[in-house]
């Protein structure tokens, strides 16, 4: 047993050292360390909401690219939607002495004490995509999508789709996220405006279900919606994973031609689905721009320039016609991404 535990510890130390290596930092000590001391301007710590949704991976990759271009390192950790994990990660960033912290707050309120703690240690905090809503601690700048306008775009696409016929619509929601609440609010505003002036082609919202923003839960929610309302005409899903889950649900009951899906995000998987006609259209977000802009604001902040409190990147509608000419989607492009 003693031998076994020794072997285990040895294996663990290799695993840790090895993983450090693969990130290409810190481990080749000595020579590189001396160089690093001159070269690296500091480290930026990023705690993502979750890395199981590719959207945040794109933000992370673009932040890393932009940061390294300007001589900063980026550490990426994933809070997996747990606010305590995220608070612990912020604590570790402070111990490491990072230059700046970027968060996708797991909760718009409860992350406050962690932000205040970073402030107290003199580390500026930035958020992107998801916004911090509390009043404890200070966020220098938030970079996100114009979710409310994006929701309005989705609403306009829905009105265009169903004008003249009307029909029943289900919303696959993720109410915990403020960003998704804004999307649905914008969507409903346009749909309600249509209904007040419509003549017999009313769009009826028959169900608003929680799809968790994920494929499996979106599948279940859509399946329930179609069971309860067999004559459903369309679905609005607040992101691509739950939209694709809804599509699988429709295919499983052979209703994919009857029910049209409008989703949100414009992730690669979503764009492919739009090209293949599985989703009608997306108001797309630009996670690459969100990531790069976040790092730009950090650099500006260190450069002594004034940084705006909030930067919102507008969303655009993306149809099959856009997908057909999207260079990201031609065969080689996909191979490269995958």
């Amino acid at each position: 047993m003693v031998r076994l535990s020794a072997a285990f510890l040895l294996a663990l130390s290799f695993a840790v050292a090895g993983c450090g290596d693969s990130n290409g930092k810190n481990t080749p000590q000595g020579a590189q360390k001396a160089k690093e001391a001159v070269k690296s301007k500091g480290t930026i710590g990023y705690s993502a909401l979750t890395l199981t949704n590719p959207f945040f991976k794109v933000i992370a990759d673009n932040m890393k690219f932009e940061a390294e271009k300007h001589g900063y390192d980026l550490i990426v950790v994933s809070a997996e939607r747990d606010v305590k994990t995220q608070a612990d990660q912020v604590n570790e960033f402070i111990v490491k002495g990072v230059a700046a912290i970027v968060l996708n707050p797991c909760d718009p309120q409860s992350i406050g004490p962690a932000i205040a703690k970073a402030n107290k240690a003199g580390i500026p905090v930035f958020t992107n995509d998801l916004k911090y809503d509390g009043n404890e601690g200070e966020v220098v700048c938030h970079v996100g999508t114009e979710n409310y306008n994006g929701g309005r775009l989705a609403g306009e696409a829905m009105v265009k789709l169903l004008s003249g016929t009307g029909g029943k619509v289900a919303i696959i929601h993720f109410p915990q996220a403020e960003s998704c609440q804004l999307r649905v609010k914008g969507f409903l505003e346009i749909v309600n405006a249509h209904n007040t002036r419509s003549q017999g082609d009313k769009i009826e919202i028959v169900a608003t279900l929680d799809g968790g923003g994920a494929r499996d839960e979106g599948f279940k929610a859509a399946k329930d919606a179609i069971e309860a309302h067999p004559d459903l005409a369309a679905i609005f899903a607040i992101n691509d994973p739950s939209g694709l889950g809804a599509r699988s649900a429709l295919e499983s009951v052979s209703k994919q031609d009857q029910v049209t899906i409008i989703a949100f995000d414009g992730q690669l998987i979503g764009k492919q689905a739009i090209r293949d006609g599985k989703i009608l259209c997306d108001p797309i977000q630009f996670p690459d721009r969100i990531g790069r802009s976040t790092v730009e604001q950090i650099l500006k902040h260190f450069n002594g320039d004034e940084v705006p409190r909030e930067i919102l990147i507008p969303s655009e509608l993306y149809y099959k016609a856009d997908a057909d000419k999207d260079p990201e989607l031609n065969e080689t492009g996909i191979d490269k991404k995958l």
């Binding site: 047993m1 003693v2 076994l4 535990s5 285990f8 510890l9 663990l12 130390s13 695993a15 840790v16 050292a17 993983c19 450090g20 990130n23 930092k25 810190n26 360390k33 001391a37 301007k41 500091g42 890395l51 550490i75 990426v76 950790v77 994933s78 939607r81 747990d82 606010v83 305590k84 608070a87 612990d88 990660q89 604590n91 570790e92 402070i94 111990v95 490491k96 002495g97 230059a99 797991c106 909760d107 718009p108 309120q109 409860s110 406050g112 004490p113 962690a114 107290k120 240690a121 003199g122 509390g134 404890e136 109410p175 650099l299 902040h301 260190f302 450069n303 002594g304 320039d305 004034e306």
Partner: protein
């Protein structure tokens, strides 16, 4: 002879029960070595050192700009530089305590009035700001910083306290889980009970006691009520298990779903931040420099250790796990003891919820996600057998710390989050393997 000696050593009670403490120490040593890094001091002594550097390099007539951030350590550093420089006869042009844009404004003012800057007294962070390079007549080459020294990130006091503080909640809940597992049961509902007590307490304070203005008395009552609700949920678990012989796995799985659903329902899925500052004392206050959750954790462990090793109740818990039928026939009140064990487990989960709410300053139905697995992992790594009848309370504390140290060490080493999960899974697997081997050893 020597192998005989080794067998004897392994079989001494201390090594058998607390052998994992050596694993913990080796892990701590390993991460100390792996996280050695150049540390950059700040504070008054570092400030005096920088003042000496400036005088020796730029002479006694040096005109110096001090740039620090607005934090306690940085202000002490700036103070140290300023008094030391004045004492040595140099000129302090300005003392900036803030952000890069504050530094920019100060430099603008100095240059506009025709002043010159010979040196910038900065620390490691402010010296890296690119703002100085905007001015050809300044440049970051003029920054003078304190000399650095090598020390592991892992062994910084702030990190060690941080690790203990992060673990405290899991470790508290793990006390109850250890008792449950020693009886041969399991409690999957603890994570949801964390959320339930958090939400219930926050709602009681918000709606019944005036929210932010609530007095300390009613806050304590609300917190106790939150713990009691969870204790009742635990008692209900115990009742279903003892009265109807429903397997603990199923009963607590149902409770996990019901409690989670209830907390989402009560809070409409949102967090509840309307809490008075007096409530934050439990989770964020300190006594003698040590965060309260750590002290609370140690207190609970000492009490639990005494209960489990020195009282009749503790003996009964082990007896039930060893062989419930034998225990019943020799007069152990099995049902009553099981009821108590599940009630205690629920109450401790509720207490964990209170501490977490206090730490994160809001009640939230999303709290406690997957905690049951974290806690069970701590118990198993700590050497408690899932088959029941064996295990030590302090073993669980060590188990919780082993997991926390591995997580912390990997984070400090920038190990990829996906790889971290693989490592943690492997650790759990090995812990169960140890348990099985130990069991076989002792049978032989």
């Amino acid at each position: 002879m020597s192998s005989n000696l080794r067998t004897q050593l392994i079989n001494t009670p201390f090594i058998r029960d607390y052998g994992m403490i050596f694993v913990l120490l080796v892990l701590a040593g390993l991460f100390s070595v792996l996280t050695i890094k150049q540390q950059h001091p700040t504070g008054e002594a570092a400030g005096r050192q920088v003042a000496d550097f400036i005088i020796s390099r730029k002479g006694h007539q040096a005109r110096v700009l001090i740039v620090t951030r607005n934090t306690g350590d940085d202000l002490a550093f700036a103070e140290g530089v300023a008094t030391s420089l004045k004492h040595l006869g140099a000129t302090v042009l300005d003392n900036v305590n803030g952000t890069a844009s504050d530094a920019k404004r100060a430099i603008d003012v100095i240059l506009a009035s025709g002043g010159e800057i010979d040196a910038i007294a900065a620390n490691d962070v402010t010296a890296k700001w690119p703002v100085y390079d905007r001015y050809p007549e300044v440049g970051s080459g003029k920054c003078i910083v304190p000399s650095s020294y090598a020390w592991p990130d892992f062994l910084k006091i702030s990190n060690l306290l941080g690790v203990a503080n992060q673990t405290a909640i899991y470790a508290m809940i793990a006390i109850g889980m250890t008792m449950v597992i020693i009886t041969g049961g399991i409690d999957l509902s603890v994570g949801s009970l964390v959320a339930l007590s958090s939400v219930c307490t926050a709602i009681m304070i918000r709606d019944g006691c005036g929210g932010v203005e609530a007095g300390i008395g009613v806050v304590i009552v609300a917190a106790l009520a939150g713990v009691c609700i969870c204790a009742l949920a635990g008692a209900f678990n115990g009742f279903m298990i003892t009265a109807f012989q429903v397997p603990p796995f199923i009963v607590t799985l149902s409770m996990m779903m019901m409690a989670s659903g209830l907390s989402y329902r009560l809070s409409s899925g949102r967090s509840i931040p309307e809490l008075p500052t007096s409530f934050f004392w439990v989770g964020r206050g300190r006594a003698a420099g040590i965060p309260n959750p750590i002290l609370l954790m140690f207190f609970l462990y000492i009490v639990a250790h005494i209960v489990m090793s020195r009282t009749v109740f503790g003996r009964y818990v082990y007896a039930i796990g060893g062989n419930a039928d034998a225990a019943r026939l020799s007069g152990v009140p099995v049902k009553r003891i099981l009821m108590w064990v599940y009630t205690i487990c629920g109450a401790l989960a509720g207490l964990g919820g209170i501490v977490l709410t206090s730490q994160l300053s809001a009640g939230d139905p999303k709290f406690g996600l997957m905690y049951e697995l974290e806690v069970i992992a701590a118990v198993v790594v700590g050497g408690t057998s899932l088959m029941g009848g064996r295990g030590k309370i302090f073993g669980t504390l060590i188990g919780a710390f082993i997991i926390a140290v591995i997580k912390n060490g990997m984070n400090l080493k920038d190990v990829d989050p996906f790889n971290q999960k693989i490592v943690l899974g492997a650790v759990l697997m090995l812990a169960v393997l140890f348990d099985t081997l130990k069991r076989r050893n002792s049978r032989e």
